[in-house]
Amino acid sequence: MNAAVVPLQRLRPIFSHPLFRALLALVIILILGSFFNAEGSFFRWETHRDMLRHISRYGILACGMTLVIITGGIDLAVGSVLGLVSVLSALLMIHWGWSPLLAVPVCLLVGLSCGAVSGSLVSKFRVQPFIATMAMMVFARGLAKYISGGRKISQGVQQGDTFVYLDFPRFFEVLNARILGENVAVVTLVFLGCALFAGLLLARFRPGRYLYAIGGNEEAARLSGVPVASTKILAYALSGVFAAIAGICQAAQETQGDPEAGGSYELTAIAIVVIGGTNLMGGRGSMALTLVGALTIGYLEKILSLNAVGEAGRLMLTGFIIVAAVLFQRSKR
């Protein structure tokens, strides 16, 4: 009897759907986690809550990275912009005591400008995305060190001979808190908000459709009247804004602005997008895939640290698993 075969065939489009493949990778990681559960600690809610909190900053970066990668580009500057904004927000709100109502828009504007410059270099001056954003990566890191004087911006300040402690801004406290009975971190909610925004943009708004068209075939998009240059600038500018949001979260979580913060974060963000199944060639992918990718990377790191795998082993294993996940998603396509 082939009665059992028919439903299987009907399910084939589901099996080959990229979201299904991404979820499958996540499930495999979760199964691994339940085997190597570190004496049951993997099953505790706190583990998952902390993982979500930990992955949030990377996830926010990955939201912008998804937009850029769908156009067929890449944004290497997000880690540095995160560092720059973490310093800037600490400076404005801890040292100068600015109200967040003023400080946050300034920070977002700085992130937006960094992204817009990268985007203009890519679309107006036809610099390769890799080069343009690498230049921005180096520049933003330098700027972070310049405005911080190379030091961490924290509550402790030298004033003449005395050492004073400044107030920790209420805004940072809120951002660093957990709500709903200590169950959900505020930064996780920020991440989900960013993901929702990027997801809606991609799926429901005109510029989102243009991003896919440009990544799928830039020449055809241009000849169809798509405003290619401004749409690309928008993608990089939004990536900068997301990096700025992540930078504020970083400062709140670390209770200081570190000019070195965010080093190599861009690579984690790219890994999240790629492991979700969004194609680096552009034109394919979605925010849902990136969300699943963020969970996959988050759980992977969590499981490795729960099992006290040393940093050396963790890095090597992560490298293997990224390749395995990508190859797995490409198979049978």
Binding site: R209, G216, E219, A220, G225, G283
Partner: protein, 509 residues
């Protein structure tokens, strides 16, 4: 009589069951220039690919100096003395002249070391033999395109090619450069080389040819000495097709002028000095189909793209769209003015392949489907459904990526995309390319329907019967110039083809 340099006997070749060459005979003697003529798609390039070892699975046989051969690869053919010079240069611009000439043929090695000095000496010898004014150690891109062409010839000759295939070598050259190339060809003839020369230019055919062979639709039509073949006879051999029954034009009812073109000039998109479209003037009326006849390099496709703003605002001349002055700026600007272009290369310029059929159809008119930026999927869906029935797009689901469709259905999607912009002027570059007979019929009917609604169409088609049957007026272009305008449908394919090859009358040179 000695055996000819090369003999091709009964060559046949088909792609996925579709024959493109049918029992073609061809021969080349030492010391002759043999012109291979035929319309686009006649099978000239395919025949040359067989000769150069690109295709190994063909019918018939190939005799080199009377000995049967079957090349295993292009390298194999090159080793046996066959060289091809492509229309697009295959030089690497950033490398030196001598490195280019010896590229992938660095035979003069000692334990893997390149011996630059001996290569350089050989290079200088070859260049001076051809009279090329180029230094062996200079980068190729420091030279104008004409010199690069000669370097390409030098590359072909560096390894004693006896048979040289030249595919439209003069399309990029200026007059003096052409003269020099022809002088080089004469020298090669004296040295006993055989040259196969492919061209669309009547003047060149009668200037260089010793013999002429004509192909048409993959069939061998005939071979004759130049003296024995009149221009009229040559044209007749090339066309000689029955006018297709399927393309039928209903009596148009012309409206007012929608597009007025005066002294329109477009610089060459590839950066060559000669303009691709040179002072072209004509007008287009509502409900009219004007056909542009032209062979490769005529500038007809450049004209359409320039009108659409694909090249930006580099054009000169005066344009009026519905009475108002118009300067091409960008595709978006053209679409806003009611001008839509069907691109000639649908995979490269027309479709976003990974996107769904629905999204491709709505792409060019997306503003209409997204009031205040918010996409209205229901409207997109409805438009796609309408297009599906209007064009007869055969597909299981409109949500499938467009790359999963057959060529004919893809073409209908591109047409649907153009029409969604609600154009008043449609620029159509090969609307039936790669489309089967049934789909062609449907597209012809659609063209009639649109013109009845007052849309004006500017049409390019390499299929002469199609162009003749559909056009109310035909404008012939040759190397960017308008050479003739034909009214009505009683004009013959021969006349149009002659005009697009630069005219029947002997030119001054």
């Amino acid at each position: 009589m000695t055996a000819p340099l090369l003999e091709l006997k009964g060559i046949g070749k088909s792609f996925s069951g579709q024959p493109v060459l049918n029992a073609v005979d061809f021969s080349l003697r030492a010391g002759e220039i043999h012109v291979l003529a035929g319309e686009n798609g006649a099978g000239k390039s395919t025949l040359m690919r067989v000769l150069c070892g690109v295709y190994q699975d063909y019918e018939g046989e190939l005799l080199l100096n009377g000995v049967k051969e079957r090349f295993k690869s292009p390298q194999d053919a090159a080793r046996k003395g066959i060289s091809i010079i492509h229309q697009e240069l295959s030089l690497i611009p950033s490398m030196t002249v001598s490195d280019n000439i010896f590229l992938a043929r660095e035979t003069d090695l000692r334990w893997g070391w390149l011996r630059f000095s001996s290569e350089r000496k050989r290079c200088i010898r070859i260049l001076s033999r051809l009279g090329v004014k180029a230094q062996a150690q200079d980068r190729v891109d420091t030279y104008p395109i004409g010199v690069q062409q000669s370097i390409e010839v030098a590359k072909a000759l560096a390894f004693d090619a006896r048979i040289l295939v030249m595919d439209e070598p003069t399309s990029a050259l200026t007059e003096p450069e052409v003269d020099r190339l022809f002088a080089v060809m004469e020298d090669l003839k004296k040295d006993g080389c055989g040259i196969i020369y492919i061209t669309h230019k009547m003047e060149e055919i009668y200037r260089v040819a010793d013999r002429i062979t004509v192909l048409r639709d993959g069939h061998y039509i005939g071979t004759a000495d130049r003296e024995d073949l009149s221009r009229e006879q040559l044209i007749h051999w090339m066309v000689g097709r029955e006018v297709s029954e399927s393309a039928r034009r209903e009596k148009p009812s012309l409206g007012e002028t929608v597009l007025d073109i005066r002294r329109f000039t477009v610089p060459d998109p590839g950066g060559r000095p000669r303009p691709a479209v040179d002072r072209v003037s004509f007008s287009l009326h509502a409900g009219e189909i004007v056909g542009l006849a032209g062979l490769q390099g005529s500038g007809a496709d450049v004209l359409l793209n320039a009108l659409y703003g694909s090249y930006g605002s580099c054009t000169t001349g005066e344009l009026y769209v519905e009475g108002r002055a118009y300067t091409p700026r960008s595709p978006k600007h053209a679409l806003d003015r009611g001008i839509a272009l069907l691109c000639g290369d649908r995979k490269r310029e027309g479709l976003v392949l990974p996107m769904s059929i629905t999204h491709n159809i709505s792409l060019a008119a997306l503003a209409r489907f997204s009031p205040r930026g918010l996409l209205r999927e229901d409207r997109e869906q409805r438009a796609a459904e309408e297009s599906r029935s209007h064009f007869g797009i055969r597909v299981a689901s409109l949500d499938h990526p467009v790359e999963t469709l057959s060529g004919g259905n893809q073409q209908k999607v591109v047409l649907a995309k153009c029409l969604q912009t609600q154009p008043r002027i449609l620029l159509l570059n090969e609307p039936t390319r790669g489309v089967d007979v049934g789909a062609k019929q449907e597209i012809y009917a659609l063209l009639n329907r649109w013109t009845a609604q007052g849309i004006a169409i500017l049409l390019i088609s390499t299929e002469m019967p199609e162009l003749l049957a559909l056009s109310d007026r035909i404008i012939a272009l040759h190397r960017g110039h308008m050479t003739a305008t034909f009214q009505g449908s009683d004009v013959s394919a021969e006349t149009v083809l002659a005009a697009s090859m630069g005219g029947l009358e002997k030119s001054k040179s």
